[in-house]
Amino acid sequence: MQGIGKIIMVFTKEDYLPSEAELTIEELPLSSSVLKAGSLYFGQYCDNQSKEFMLCSQELKDPRKCLNEGKEVTRCGFEFFKKLKQNCNPEFAAYHECIYRSGGKGRSMDFRYCRKQQKVLDKCLFEKMGISRPPIGYFSMVRVHKTDRPKPAPSDTD
C-alpha cells in the first residue's frame, strides 16, 4: 500500500454526511439470479421510481442528495417482489430455476434457453398483475421521463 504514512480522508467534520439511521434500511435479500429473472418485470413495475432515481444521480452526481429516491426504488422493489410471490410464485420459481441453470458452467443466465417457462410466467403476470414483458430494447433505447424535479443549478465543471 502506497503512502500509508499520511492517509487522509477528504470528508471533513463540516461536510454533511447522512447519519447511520438514515442509511440503514432493510435491503432486498435477493441473489443475482432472482434479480435477473425478475429484472424486466421489475423495470416495468417500478419504471417511474427508477427513472427518477437515475435522473437524480445523473444530474446531481452526489449519492448524499439522492437517498430518498434510492429508498423509494428499494421500497418499490420490495413491493414488486412481494406481489410476484403472492400471485405467480410457482411460475416464477420454475422460471428462476431455469434462468439459474441456463448458460452452462459460465452461469451467464441467458434468457434464450427459458422461453418455455417465460411464456407461462408472462401469461400469469399479465392476467394477475397486468404486467407484460417489454419489447426487446425497451430499456436500452432512449426514453423521455416527465418529472416535476427542479432543474439543477449549473456547476463549475459544466
Binding site: 477528504v10 470528508f11 461536510d15 454526511l17 432486498l28 444521480s57 452526489d62 437517498l67 426487446i136 430499456f139
Partner: protein
C-alpha cells in the same frame, strides 16, 4: 521357305485411321452462365442466413442489456448507501485515531485540504483510503470483482 507363302506387309484394307493429334477436351456439363448463377445463389443465401444470425444475436444481446439496465437503479441505490456508510465509518475512525494529535483536522492534512479546488459533490479518494479502516482482504476482493 516357298515363294507362294510370302506375303508383303501392307497397310490394312481401308488404310490407317486418323492420327489423334487433337487435345481430348472434356466437355463441361454446365454452361458458364449456369455456374455463375449457382455461385451467386449460394453467396446470396449465405448472406441471408448470416444476416439473420447477426440480427438474432443482436436481439439477444439487447435483451440482456435491458435486464442489466432495468436492475441497475436497484443495485445502485443499495451501493450508494453502503458507500456512504463506509465513508462515515472512515471519518469517525480517523477522528478516533487522531484525537491525541494537536492541530489535526479530520479530512485534511493539518488543516491543508488535499484537493485545492475539488467541487462540493465530488470527493475523490483512492481505494487505499476508502478501505484503510477495514479488512485488507476486502480491498483485494474489490479489485478482482466485477
Amino acid at each position: 521357305m516357298s515363294r507362294s507363302g510370302f506375303r508383303q506387309d501392307m497397310p490394312p484394307t481401308g488404310g490407317y485411321g486418323d492420327i489423334p493429334y487433337k487435345k481430348a477436351l472434356q466437355i463441361p456439363r454446365l454452361k458458364g452462365y449456369t455456374k455463375i448463377a449457382i455461385a451467386t445463389g449460394i453467396t446470396l443465401a449465405g448472406m441471408y442466413v448470416c444476416t439473420k444470425q447477426i440480427q438474432m444475436n443482436s436481439r439477444l444481446r439487447w435483451e440482456e442489456n435491458d435486464a442489466r439496465l432495468a436492475t441497475w437503479p436497484l443495485v445502485k441505490a443499495e451501493q450508494d448507501r453502503l458507500h456512504l456508510l463506509q465513508v462515515r465509518k472512515n471519518r469517525d475512525a480517523e477522528a478516533e485515531l487522531m484525537k491525541n494529535i494537536p492541530d489535526w483536522k479530520v479530512g485534511t492534512y493539518y488543516g491543508k485540504p488535499i484537493y485545492h479546488n475539488a467541487p462540493e459533490n465530488h470527493k475523490a479518494y483512492s481505494p487505499d483510503e476508502y478501505y484503510v479502516h477495514s479488512d485488507p482482504k476486502k480491498e483485494l476482493r474489490s479489485y478482482y470483482s466485477n
